[in-house]
């Protein structure tokens, strides 16, 4: 049998290419995941100890007040302490707005605790001296010697630094006293402490002190853990890709073995036992799996290093380290590839030995083999779909994610089982429509596509998996986006608010604001400077015609007659007295923080307080603008008028961007599974072309032009991929609806199903085009056969 095995490997290698490719991609996915996560881990962990390099102990669980006391104590005793903390601040450089919320961190006075690496200029020594992160200000026209305003602090840029750690990086670094002056309550991560005093620290309750090494180790473990969670998420997608690969491989083997049934029968005729034949084909599968997995390891390694190199050049320094190939991951990836191949080949190889020796003597009828769905299969399929539906209904009722996953899996398995019935029926419908437009090739294609229902179903199943998951994710994200939008409308009803501080706004400011590009609508709010009990002097404004400016219908747009809206920071009581000159009113307090530093009252309240109102605020609705550009332009107007900017648009676009990134990432990761499935379609088509050579020759003899023959195959591929995509979209939308009902509905009161039609249509179009592409090679090969050579085959 060894001769036979070797000969058959030699002869059939080309036919295995696609199946091998599916395994290669799956294994590559795993290896890339391992390399990327190892590099990310190295990058995250690498810089971490830098911040604590000179420290003896590290103090955590302290707030800014505690940190200040520790630093003061250390200075008294001659020790050194550096606070690792962070505060978002509005930063201007040379009078230009650099960033309304730049990250500002601390830099130690003690050189031993300073972890930033100087690149230009010098480190700060005096109050008011600031260093900037070289990468953060790259290309933004920030130089040593520039004046800089960080929040309330005015200073000078004295140096540019590099930040070795991705986890502690900030855009600007201030000395501790400056930092504390800018933000009394800044967020404190930890305090690095060096000196003999570390043994006898006087610490507030709840604070933790750890020797430096112990602390760094714990921190590294924590960061590693975070990366591992990401790696596991990636592996979920890798296993989806591998599952699809398994479907493709199983289908390839089924088709190949069907084509070779006569060879096997002949072997049996000349004396090979069942066992020998079985072993021979299983070794074939083993060889394929091993070769493809090895290739996957090689490709994965190359691609992983390439991606890390790309990421290193594109991201700030230090975020990616050197990837370390881990023997365990490599072994795991190899074994997984091998196992997937073997498992996928198991059923098809079993079918091989059912071929009796007599089959060799019958005429070759491999093209007229008509595999249908047995009654048992249909019954099982219906039962599973029903079970899945019941489970899904229960999951909606009980808001149970476990039942939902089970039900989804059952329903999907049922659909796969029913595939040989459903898919050909859909293809007939689609082919009938196409036949009216595209004529004979489309009609032939439809006939070809359905002649072997089980093969058709198996081919489309792989694509069905990818498309179902993709559309489910797209729909679920689009629907949760509507819920998120509601939250955003509530929390950030105003895109940008300009609020006056000491004096009313100039009367022409509104017109100038309206002229800023990106401003959709803007209205001025009338008000008066009022003395609010417990909050001091504050502009009290009343919203007029703000309906076109605010998102949704927030409560602040229509304050009640005895109500006052105050910034959350200023609220300490439930009723306050508001005074303007001699007049005063007592009002009930509501609080929020989406409109800036002002009080909002009803028009009648304002009228009761003063007769002379002036514009004290301008609210802006952006018109599809870049939040940073808009903020910069508006700030240039607000600054000379003494007004402050409140940027709700920034948060809104940040959240939207996160959702976009999430959608993009998930779709890209699922895209790998879809690519494998499309390779599978090309593969089935290629193998079908091999077994239909005589038919194609006959058709060519009878007058089918080369172009028509190519069109026939292209139409078949497009029919397969579009039908799978449409079916997958329907199932995906259903799953998304169920998950909204079962999960999201439980969290928020309403989660309407939102269909992203554009994206869904795009998915179908992409699948159609990809199907077309997958038919290119098989169609070329088929068209190359001349009628005469095709007919002389036997």
């Amino acid at each position: 049998m060894r001769t036979v095995l070797r000969a058959s490997l030699r002869t059939h290698t080309r036919r295995y290419v696609s199946a091998a490719l599916a395994v290669v991609i799956g294994v590559t996915f795993i290896v890339v995941t391992s390399l990327l996560s190892s590099a990310a881990r190295a990058g995250l962990v690498a810089g971490v100890e830098q911040q604590y390099r000179g420290a003896d102990v590290v103090i955590t669980e302290v707030d800014a007040r505690d940190a200040a006391r520790i630093v003061a104590d250390a200075t008294d005793t001659g020790d050194a302490a550096a606070v690792i903390g962070w505060t978002p601040q509005q930063v201007r450089v040379d009078g230009r707005l650099f960033d309304p919320r730049a990250g500002v961190g601390g830099i130690a006075e003690d050189p031993g605790l300073r972890w930033q690496e100087l690149r230009e200029g010098r480190f700060p020594e005096q109050p008011g001296e600031v260093v900037a992160d070289r990468n953060a200000v790259k290309g933004k026209d920030v130089h040593v010697g520039d004046t800089v305003e960080v929040g309330t602090l005015e200073g000078t840029v004295v140096g540019l630094v590099d930040t070795p750690s991705a986890s502690a990086g900030a855009d600007f670094y201030l000395l501790w006293d400056d930092l504390r002056a800018v933000d009394e309550d800044l967020w404190v991560d930890s305090v690095a402490y060096a000196g003999p005093g570390s043994a006898s620290l006087d610490l507030p309750r709840g604070a933790t002190v750890q020797p430096r090494d112990e602390f760094v180790e714990e921190l590294q473990a924590e960061l590693t853990n975070e990366v591992n969670v990401l790696a596991i998420l990636l592996l979920v997608f890798a296993s989806i890709a591998l599952f699809v690969s398994a479907l493709v491989i199983a289908n390839t083997f089924s088709i190949l073995f069907a084509q070779r049934a006569r060879d096997f029968a002949l072997l049996r005729c000349v004396g090979a036992t069942r066992r020998q034949v079985l072993r021979s084909v299983r070794v074939e599968a083993l060889a394929l799996g091993a070769a493809a997995s090895l290739l996957g390891l090689a490709f994965g390694t190359a691609l992983g290093y390439l991606l890390v190199a790309l990421a290193t050049s594109a991201l700030p320094s230090g975020s990616m380290g050197v990837p370390t190939p881990s023997p365990r991951w490599y072994a795991g990836a190899f074994v997984t590839g091998l196992l997937v191949t073997l498992v996928a080949a198991w059923l098809p190889t079993r079918r091989v030995v059912r071929v009796g020796p007599l089959a060799a003597l019958r005429p070759d009828d491999s093209t007229s083999v008509h595999t249908g769905a047995g009654r048992l299969r249909v019954l099982a399929g219906l039962a599973t779909v029903l079970l899945g539906a019941v489970l899904l209904a229960l999951s909606i009722q009980g808001n149970s994610p476990g039942l939902m996953v089970l039900g989804g899996a059952a329903a999907f398995t049922g659909v796969l089982l029913l595939g040989p019935v459903i898919v050909p029926a859909l293809i007939r419908v689609a082919g009938g429509l196409g036949g009216r437009v595209a004529g004979a090739p489309a009609r032939l294609a439809a006939e070809n596509a359905v002649r072997n229902p089980r093969r058709t179903a198996a081919t489309t199943a792989s694509l069905l998996v990818g498309v179902t998951l993709t559309t489910a994710v797209l729909v679920a994200l689009a629907s949760s986006r509507s819920a998120v939008d509601r939250d955003l409308d509530r929390d950030h009803p105003i895109d940008v608010a300009l609020t006056a501080t000491d004096e009313p706004l100039p009367s022409d400011l509104l017109d100038r604001v309206r002229a800023v590009p990106g401003v959709g609508t803007a209205v001025a709010l009338d008000g008066v400077s009022a003395r609010v009990e417990g909050a001091g002097e504050l502009p009290a404004v009343t919203p007029g015609e703000v309906g076109a400016v605010v998102h949704g219908s927030p409560a602040i747009a229509t304050p009640g007659p005895r109500e006052i809206w105050l910034p959350s920071d200023d609220v300490s009581r439930s009723r306050v007295t508001v005074q303007v000159g001699e007049r005063s009113v007592e009002l009930r307090v509501s609080s929020g923080e989406s409109w800036g530093d002002a009080a909002i009252v009803a028009p009648e309240t304002l009228a009761a307080l003063t007769d002379a109102t002036q514009p004290w605020a301008v609210w802006v609705r952006a018109d599809d603008a870049d939040p940073e550009d808009l903020a910069g332009d508006l700030d240039a107007l607000a600054q000379p008028a003494g007004a402050n900017l409140t940027n709700g648009l920034r948060e809104r676009s940040w959240v939207t961007l996160q959702l976009d990134i999430l959608t993009g990432t998930v779709v890209a990761l699922l895209g790998i599974a879809v690519v494998i499935a499309l390779i599978g379609i090309g593969n089935t088509l290629g193998l079908s072309v091999l077994e239909r050579r005589r038919e194609h020759a006959l058709l060519r003899a009878l007058g089918l032009t080369r172009r028509q023959l190519r069109a026939t195959l292209a139409a078949e591929a497009v029919l397969l991929s579009v039908v799978a995509t449409v079916l997958g979209s329907v199932i995906g939308v259903t799953f998304a609806w169920v998950s909204l009902q079962a999960l999201v509905e439980a969290a928020v009161d309403q989660a309407p199903l939102v269909l992203p039609w554009g994206q869904l249509v795009l998915v179908v179009l992409v699948a159609g085009v990809a199907g077309l592409l997958s038919s290119l090679l098989p169609a070329r090969r088929a068209a190359r056969t001349t009628p005469a050579t095709g007919l002389s085959l036997d």
Partner: protein, 227 residues
């Protein structure tokens, strides 16, 4: 369709497969005239070049040298696309085996050439279809797929398909090779009837004397030349 009394002719027709030492000279310069409206048999033993001759005559294979003219048209001047369209408009084929597409019914197979040409099945075509189907006696088999037909029935469907588009020549390549003698006699009888009753021109390649006996003319090929 053509006024020429000749359905096809060749001059110096040469076909060489491969190159150098391994070259096989299948045809070595054949001059042949095939009259229209007759049943011609091309005979020869295996490897004599008779099938190659037929493939070249039918535009399925392109000659190495020499000229072929069919229905008044010179084939060597046509590219693949033109040849294909020429075939479906002017020629009909019956092969030894594998004549029919397995996924189409007999009726669909017969109408396939019309469909490939994008022609509507109008009244005239329908009348021709009914006539051909009637002559071949397969009216009750039209809804069956090839797998459900006997070998003789399959060949009759193939002949019907070859005749339905009223071709200038029908080429038959060993049409009885896979049939028992009774079914073979039937099929050959139908080919002869199609010449007599429908005015077709049939060129048949065969190695069997009994089959050649049905023909009006017999051309014998040996070693790539007309014997």
């Amino acid at each position: 369709m053509t006024n020429s009394p000749l359905a096809a002719s060749t001059r110096g027709l040469t076909r060489v497969y491969g190159q150098g030492d391994t070259a096989v000279h299948a045809l070595r310069g054949i001059d042949l005239d095939l009259p229209a409206g007759r049943f011609t048999a091309i005979m020869g033993r295996s490897g004599s070049g008779k099938s190659t001759l037929m493939h070249c005559l039918a535009g399925l294979d392109s000659p190495t040298a020499g000229s072929v003219s069919v229905a008044g048209r010179a084939l060597e001047s046509m590219d693949d696309n033109a040849l294909t369209i020429f075939r479906r408009e002017h020629l009909g084929f019956v092969f030894q085996s594998f004549n029919l597409l397995p996924m189409l019914t007999a009726g669909q197979n017969i109408l396939l050439p019309l469909e490939l040409a994008g022609r509507r099945v109008d009244a005239a075509a329908r009348a021709r279809y009914d006539l051909v189907v009637g002559v071949l006696g397969i009216g009750d088999r039209l809804g069956h797929r090839p797998g459900e037909l006997s070998g003789g029935q399959q060949q009759r469907v193939a002949i019907a398909r070859a005749l339905v588009s009223e071709p200038d020549i029908v080429f038959a390549d060993e049409p009885t090779g896979n049939l028992d003698s009774e079914a073979a006699a039937e099929v050959l009888g139908f080919l002869r009837r199609s010449v007599r009753e429908l005015g077709s021109t049939v060129v048949m390649v065969t190695h069997e004397d009994s089959a050649a006996a049905y023909a009006d003319d017999v051309v014998v090929i040996a070693d790539g030349l007309v014997a």
